[in-house]
Amino acid sequence: MKGKLKLLMTDLQNIGQQMAEILKKQNADYIEAHLEESQFSSISYRGKQLESITKTTSVGGNVRALVKGGWGFVSFNDLTGMEDKVAMAVKQARFIGKETSQFYESKPVIEDVVAKIKENPALIPLSEKKQLLDEYNNAIWCTSGIQTSNLGYGDTNKKTIFLNSSGSFITQERADVSIRAVAVAAKDGEVQQAGLSEGSRDDFRPIRKLHQDIRQLAQRAVDMLKVPTLKGGEYTVVLDPILAGVFVHEAFGHLSESDFVYENAQLKEIMTLGKVFGGPHLNIIDSASRPGLRGSFKYDDEGTRSTKTYLIREGKLTGRLHSRETAAKMNEKPTGNARAINYRYPPIVRMTNTYIEAGECAFEDMIADIKDGVYAKNWYGGQTSMEMFTFSSGETYRIHNGKIAEMVRPVMLSGNVFNTLMNIDAIGNDLGMHQGGGCGKGGQSPLPVSDGSPHIRIQKCLVGGK
């Protein structure tokens, strides 16, 4: 039982077959359809109390049509009248299509991809999950000085069918689980919080072992009340693998998404392949083909096989993330990065598992010659506007004379991506992937992704503070 998904999807398979017949009859440059069934369950605590336990089932689909460069898209929960839905998408596309469609042709794929599930979270009894979460919530509340807390758990089983007018018919499945804990400490009208987010793919086991981490984060929230706020300004900053992963995702990853670039001459100029973005030690990769991570899959939502893409190799821009449309328009190959959060949205260019490749610098050496700097750990959030980015730490220390020194309150780091990548002057040998991330773009959030990095050192990084 443990290796199987909970969903049967017999109806959707039939609808998929019908849909395949309907797509054949249509007159469009390209049509694809997605059908999806999912079950979601969540448990959340607020303070000492369990706040909600919910179960959600969802069935739906969409049709996307391309005619002369224009796109039509129809999404639905109502599974009747498929012919009309397809016709509507084609009509919409025809209404706006005035050019020649450019879309990377690929050979049809017919495949049933079965998930390699180690322990399916959806099959674990509710009582067992609740027992574990009770333990975690107790771990927060056995710390003195905690004012309130949030603990959220969710697991999903999802099966999807992708089919298109070229004859592809791909079914894929996945089991996801995620957990987020936030402890809030308060004293004398001041409030501080510390958090943790963890996720796993097709395996519940990593979620079972968080007792110590959660105890520590609760203590950290309390400790943070006692420490000073850093003065804002420019610092030499060392980022831990979690925060450096958020940095590479926010600051550079989004810029390499080709849908921002492909019809934008100025941005194309900035993102010319071969251009130097960082030192020769800098390698940045996006790879959905690295198995078992939150952003991993075999085929993307346009039926393209996943790849490993070097975005930056030895400091130079060498690749970017593509859908079949952006690849065709830029005369490059698709990279399998067209993803949609669910059937309510069309696929757009997204990251998968994004990371800075390990270098050679040991952590001790990295901080050894820093007289006065900042060690920023852990993740609170991040946002980008392509050129400018912000990301915030969950845990921060001063570095004095080559040693990690006193704790300060969490900081927000901000800057300009082009300067900041250039200012990375040391890359560690300790790559770590962070599985707790969810990415938002174009109203589609949170998409399961992972990001990672070794420790990195950034010179002259702008830190917000008092």
Partner: protein, 432 residues
């Protein structure tokens, strides 16, 4: 729905069925031209039950399999939170107009023409700007029935128009734009065009900013992106009940500046944040939150109100899960000074229109910190250019305790916040 309620009543003491259906038609522009048209039909049904005194909850995209929905809700009720409230038997609600049949009738031709007009006017002013935008119509239908006879059934229409222009020079990127929404069709592009062109004009030059405390004007969009998130969490009855709200014990006390007045007002006709009742069939009301600096009320749903021994303010809102207290539409009362006079009164300072990443800090404690995505420098009462590579940080409670000036230039931001510009002095600014 009645079938689900009947089945649920057999399995539990109390039950409530909530169903929302929507039909949304977004027309999307990219790189200055029409890119796609979408039609999104969606349906969601949620069942909340009280069984053995505990809350159970399940949702589905289909009403066909009523038994499965009931079974799922019953399964969760075994572990659920103790229910401390009763479903309301309410069937009458305040009258607030939120539906205009004209929205549905706006043709695709008209929608695409509006988008083209927006882009045409902005690129006409500045040909190097690349625009992305959307024109959307949305029809939303909510029905709630519960086992105590409570019932609501209403429709809302939403029309929205928005644009984001991007100007790139070298590696320098500028983002401008505006957004409008209404329950009426918006058939004029003038306001959005005016705002966007004004932003482009002010951003012609770049100005240097010193790293030091200075006066900051939060323009209406800047108030939203910098100051409002901490207030939403502080006025949430749940945060108050937990003792985590910095103002939780200050009901009736003066915490903010004398001139600051804030209400939650879901009863403004044809505003997209308006509605007759919340997501648990409780009538909506105008709730004063701050009057002349004094904290008046907090926002409650049924369960939180019962636990706090007070009554619901009609703010039980669902974001996919169980209802939770959430504001409908914040309105900050205007002051007396015009925006221009506010600018003139400042010797050295900045204007914030958009702040990037402000919700990331210690929001609960009122801290905010962010990078100025769109902002301008003021020198000797004049706007001299755009601000870049600049971070602003502060604490909302400290800033709003002593406000330098509140403008008379109220504007709706995203249909959720109606606010004037707010000027504060001694705000921490760090720049390179």
């Amino acid at each position: 729905m009645e079938e689900i309620l009947a089945l649920a009543k057999k399995a539990a003491e109390e039950a409530e069925v909530y169903m929302v259906t929507s039909e949304e038609t977004p027309v999307h522009f990219e790189s200055n031209r029409l890119k796609n048209i979408q039609y999104k039909q969606s349906q969601s049904v949620a069942l909340r039950i009280i069984k053995n005194g505990k809350i159970g909850y399940a949702t589905s995209t289909s009403i066909k399999n009523a038994q499965q929905l009931v079974d799922n809700a019953v399964a969760t009720a075994g572990f659920g939170m103790k229910a401390e409230f009763q479903f309301p038997a309410t069937m009458t609600f305040p009258e607030v107009a939120v539906f205009d049949a004209a929205v549905e009738k706006v043709s695709l031709e008209k929608m695409t023409q509006l988008g083209a007009e927006l882009i045409g006017k902005i690129t006409g002013y500045s040909p190097e700007v690349i625009c992305e935008g959307g024109v959307t119509k949305d029809l939303y239908h909510l029905v709630i029935i519960n086992s105590r006879g409570g019932k609501t059934d209403f429709k809302q229409s939403i029309f929205s128009l928005g644009i984001e222009g991007q100007r790139i020079r070298g590696t320098d990127m500028l983002f401008v734009g505006d957004y409008e929404s209404s329950c009426h069709p918006i058939l004029k592009t003038d306001e959005i065009v005016k705002t966007t062109i004004r932003q482009l004009e002010l951003a012609k030059n770049t100005a240097k900013v010193a790293s030091k405390p200075m006066s900051v004007i939060f323009a209406p969009d800047g108030v939203t992106s910098s100051l409002v998130l901490p207030l939403i969490s502080a006025f949430n009855g749940k945060t108050v009940l937990e003792g985590a709200s910095p103002i939780g014990k200050k009901l009736g006390e003066k915490v903010f500046d004398n001139n600051l007045t804030l209400k939650d007002n879901p009863l403004i006709p044809y505003n997209t944040g308006s509605r007759q009742c919340d997501d648990e069939c409780v009538p909506c009301q105008v709730t004063p939150l701050i009057t002349k600096g004094v904290v008046n009320n907090f926002l409650y749903d049924l369960q939180t109100a019962a636990r706090a021994k007070t009554i619901s303010t009609g703010n039980g809102q669902r974001q996919g899960g169980l209802p939770s207290p959430s504001p409908h539409a914040f309105v900050i009362s205007p002051g007396h000074i015009s925006y221009d006079d506010m600018v003139k009164s400042i010797d050295e300072g900045i204007i914030i229109e958009q702040l990037l990443g402000a919700g990331q800090g210690n929001m609960l404690g009122g801290d905010f910190s962010g990078n100025v995505l769109l902002g301008f420098k003021i020198e000797k009462g004049e706007i001299v250019g755009r601000v870049k590579d600049t971070m602003v940080s502060g604490n909302v409670y400290q800033l709003l305790k002593d406000i330098t000036a509140i403008g008379s230039d109220n504007k709706w931001v995203n249909g959720f916040l109606n606010t004037p510009s707010i000027c504060c002095s001694n705000v921490s600014v760090a720049s390179r």
